[in-house]
């Protein structure tokens, strides 16, 4: 290759040298001609052969010139000469003579002859060759010197230091991370830097090696640890293939699976045990393999029956690591299972009665319904005690519990095999009458039961023995007629129960589809009520309260009225409980208070010193109608404190007594009067009258209605009036409907009264006319006496 390059390059060099030498020769010949030209032209001018000959001789002294001829006008040769030493006179060189015209020395434009010069080309060639050869030799020598110098530099500055580095690298102990020394004199050269880099690299490699070793040690330790964990774990650990063939397992696993029975480690399967449901284990394995990609752990509990028939619950958790195998753990959960079963039993039992509780009931009904014969039928009876709340409140919770116990006892006496009794909460019992059909049979049985329940029972209380008679309401639903699942059935029975309660005490109703309609109806009224509050369909009516002795109207009771756009007037007895139930009673109460204040202040502004009493529901006390709100409303309308009276029911006094007392005290202290409404209908305890800051009692209209005819009522009313008067309480008679009522009450000393005799509740704007009308009529009546 080097030879080829050298040959080619020397060929080109020699070519270029040749050309240069040739052109050099031609130039030198031309120059020689130039120098002799003036003399030659003189010789030609004068035809001086001698001079021409001298010129020729001078030119022939140049070794490159072979021959010279000077010619004058007419191609006459003036003189010529030829090198004597010319040995080779090759004709091929004759075709390149140099010819120079000669001008007259005195007229440049006149050509008088020419000088013809024949170069000695062979000589020139020879010289060119020689010169080329010399140059090539020189170049060759130069190259050799350069190569040798480069080689020497390489040897001294590169190869030897690298050899040295290599030797030192060989001596390095690979694990120790020792570094190699920089060769002398190379501290700042690339070699030195290379050594530095190698040292850095070895340092890094050492670090990596060290890390790898540490990791290896860690792995060994971890493996030992895991081996220990595996061997000593209390849980069973196993690795199996997809068919359950065990690859490896620990001692705990063997113990759990096979007790102390010695096992042959080879060819064992997860299924080599007395599983009660090995198909479930198989599906667990399949599930784990399906979840292989996400590596989720699936687990379940399985029952194992050992040889002695002992039950063992084992929990197996399996995961598929992704290589088609399965890893799993196994723990003995027998104890937990037993506890769970026990707890489930407990959870479905009512501690007080020993009946199933609601949960147990649902399960039992579910099981009953799930037996799934086409002939299966049963009746579900929901039983609710009447007045149980009052018993609890008046006699105390232990008495309530005793009552529940009695009921349970009577149910137990009554039921037949196959029936399921349950207490679903509070005073609510549920009885499943098995195979109950037809309805008439159930009807008969319930009749028996109700009379059994009603039998009086003597209870020991703190105050002494008390005889109570238990009453209840019940709703009945039939399976499958009134519902095909537990919840439907319960719902139907509950609706029937509600219907029975509405109808009155101690009765039972069978479910009828129309009850659902009634419920729907109620729901619609609820919706309408909410809407009515928003749209102002509710308004206040005012029923005058009359001072019976004076025959004057002194105030009015504000009564909420609802003019429904399609149903007409809706009774407060319907919508007030609804409002309480759906949670809008607070809003309604504020509406009543605000309107009442506005109306009173209007009356007072035109000179009627009347007051208005407003009804406050137990639910509004104390938070939905705080005293501050009442007082604030009065203040805003510029009313004195006695312009508004508050009517409460006994319900208020039976609830949170402390809070109610405080609420009443605060309003009473501010000067508001507080009336006890519907007096005589509930548990009207005289102690209320003493304990609570009341200003008046309102005698319920049921006492007034038969006042003229019923001597008992008369005596009762008289007693109430007498007692109230002695307690300095005002008495207001409600439901004064006849003149007879009016006169009797007036004569009994009842201060105040209201009723249709005087006026129903009227709209505020009609009230002034009503007052005039009443007072005129009373004046007439009084005058008639």
């Amino acid at each position: 290759m080097a030879l080829l390059v050298g040959g080619v390059s020397s060929y080109f060099i020699s070519q270029s040298l040749r050309e240069r030498e040739q052109s050099q020769a031609i130039r030198s010949l031309s120059e020689a001609l130039e120098t002799v030209q003036s003399t030659a032209s003189i010789a030609a001018f004068t035809n001086d052969k001698q001079l021409a000959g001298e010129v020729i001789q001078g030119l022939l002294r140049n070794s490159d010139i072979l021959s010279v001829t000077i010619v004058v006008a007419g191609d006459t040769v003036l003189a010529n000469g030829m090198r004597s030493s010319a040995k080779v006179f090759a004709p091929e060189f004759m075709d390149k003579p140099l010819s120079q015209p000669l001008a007259s020395p005195f007229n440049k434009n006149e050509t008088i002859g020419k000088i013809i010069l024949q170069a000695d080309w062979p000589t020139i060639e020879a010289r060119v060759k020689q010169s080329t050869r010399d140059t090539l030799y020189l170049l060759l020598a130069e190259m050799i010197i350069v190569v040798l110098s480069v080689a020497a530099v390489m040897v001294f500055f590169v190869i030897r230091p690298i050899k040295k580095i290599s030797d030192r690298l060989h001596q390095i102990e690979p694990g120790l991370g020792s570094s190699i020394l920089v060769p002398e004199g190379h501290e700042k050269t690339e070699i030195g830097r290379l050594v530095g880099d190698i040292n850095d690299l070895t340092g890094r490699l050492m670090m990596l090696l060290e890390e790898a070793r540490a990791m290896q040690r860690q792995q060994q330790v971890a493996q030992r640890k895991y081996q220990n964990l595996f061997d000593c774990a209390v849980s069973g650990i196993f690795v199996a293939d997809r068919d359950g063939h065990l690859d490896s397992f620990n001692q705990a696993f063997a113990t759990l699976m096979w007790r102390s029975k010695p096992v042959n480690q080879e060819n064992l399967s997860l299924f080599d045990a007395a599983w009660s449901r090995s198909d479930l284990i198989r599906s667990l394995l399949v599930l784990a393999l399906e979840q292989e990609t996400i590596g989720r752990i699936v687990a379940d509990d399985f029952l194992l029956l050992d040889r002695r028939g002992e039950e063992r619950w084992l929990s197996i958790a399996v995961t598929a690591p992704g290589d088609g195998t399965l890893q799993g753990t196994m723990t003995d959960v027998t104890a937990r299972k037993r506890e769970e079963m026990h707890a489930r039993q407990l959870a479905s039992l009512d501690a007080l009665t020993g009946f199933a509780n609601r949960q147990g009931l649902l399960e039992a009904i579910g099981q009953h319904a799930a037996r799934g014969h086409a002939q299966t039928s049963f009746a579900l009876v929901i039983l609710n005690l009447d007045g149980f709340k009052q018993i609890n409140e008046s006699l105390g919770l232990p008495a309530g519990d005793e009552v529940l116990g009695i009921v349970a006892e009577r149910i137990r006496q009554f039921i037949q095999p196959g029936d399921i009794p349950a207490r679903s909460g509070g005073d609510e019992f549920v009885i499943l009458f098995d195979g109950a059909s037809p309805e008439s049979a159930v009807d008969q049985r319930l009749n028996q039961f109700f009379s059994l329940l009603q039998q009086s029972h003597a209870m020991m209380t703190l105050e002494g023995t008390r005889v109570i008679s238990l009453r209840a309401s019940a709703g009945v639903a039939f399976y499958p007629k009134d519902g095909t699942n537990v919840h439907q059935l319960l719902r139907s029975a509950e609706l029937a129960l509600m219907s029975a309660r509405t109808a009155g005490s101690h009765s039972y109703h069978f479910f009828e589809p129309s009850m659902l309609v009634a419920v729907e109806h109620r729901r619609r009224i609820e919706d309408d009520l909410k809407q009515a509050i928003g749209e102002g369909e509710l308004y206040l009516g005012f029923q005058p309260i009359i001072n019976l002795a004076a025959g004057k109207v002194i105030g009015a009771e504000a009564l909420m009225r609802w003019a429904h756009p399609t149903r007409g007037m809706v009774s407060p007895d319907v919508f007030i409980p609804l409002a309480e139930e759906i949670g809008v009673i607070g809003e309604l109460g504020l509406l009543v208070l605000e309107n009442a204040c506005r109306v009173v202040s209007q009356w007072r502004s035109v000179g009627h010193p009347l007051y208005v009493s407003v009804n406050v529901s137990a639910l509004q006390i104390p938070n939905l109608l705080p005293p501050s709100v009442v007082l604030d409303a009065l203040k805003r309308h510029g009313l004195p404190d006695d312009a508004i009276a508050i009517e409460i029911t006994e319900g208020v006094l039976m609830g949170n007594v402390g809070a109610a007392l405080e609420w009443m005290a605060e309003l009473g202290a501010a000067g508001l009067r507080i009336y006890l409404d519907d007096f005589g209908t509930g548990y009207s305890s005289l102690s209320y009258l003493k304990r609570f800051p009341l200003n008046a009692v309102k005698i319920d209209k049921s006492f007034i209605r038969d006042l003229a005819e019923d001597s008992n009522d008369k005596a009762l009313v008289n007693a109430i009036i007498t007692m109230a008067t002695s307690l300095t309480l005002d008495v207001i008679a409600e439901g004064v409907e006849t003149e007879a009522h009016f006169k009797m009450l007036r004569d009994m000393g009842c201060h105040l009264g209201q009723g249709f005799l005087f006026s129903p509740a009227v709209k505020a704007e009609l009230f002034a006319d009503t007052v005039v009308d009443i007072e005129q009529r009373l004046a007439l009546m009084n005058a008639a006496d």
């Binding site: 003399t39 004068t46 001086d48």
Partner: protein, 144 residues
């Protein structure tokens, strides 16, 4: 003679004050027996600078030259070939050694010119028009 020297001095003066030599009016003449009526400028050049050694009629030509310091010589060669006497000398110097060609013979006075011109045919000279002798034949006149 006195008059001649006065004219000489006058011409010398003129030549000093004038940068150009072309003041004197030069003509090329020959003797009456030569038998050539006239010469062209080229013929004058060829004869005076050694190319031809014979006149057109075959008579050997014998040109005369003035002395080295002569203003006339100086003017003649300038007018003829635009060369200084030094250049003319250098020209001849190359030829003399060959021995074949000789430069014109030199004369030092106009009397000698006249004598030579009259001595035989074929002699040529250049003179100032003022010094023209009635016997001389004008061969060539420089343009004025």
């Amino acid at each position: 003679m006195k008059l001649n020297s006065l004219a000489y001095w006058f011409i010398a003066f003129l030549s000093v004050i004038a940068p150009c030599h072309a003041r004197a009016d030069l003509v090329v003449v020959t003797g009456p027996k030569t038998g050539v009526p006239t010469l062209s400028k080229e013929e004058v050049i060829n004869i005076y600078l050694g190319r031809y050694r014979r006149l057109p009629n075959g008579l050997p030509a014998e040109p005369l030259d003035m002395g080295e310091a002569s203003e006339t010589k100086k003017e003649f060669y300038w007018k003829l070939v635009e060369k200084t006497p030094a250049e003319i000398n250098a020209y001849w110097a190359r030829l003399v050694f060959s021995g074949q060609t000789r430069p014109p013979a030199t004369v030092n006075s106009s009397d000698e010119v006249a004598a030579r011109l009259m001595s035989r045919p074929g002699v040529l000279a250049y003179v100032e028009r003022e010094k023209l002798d009635k016997r001389f034949v004008i061969l060539y006149e420089f343009d004025r």
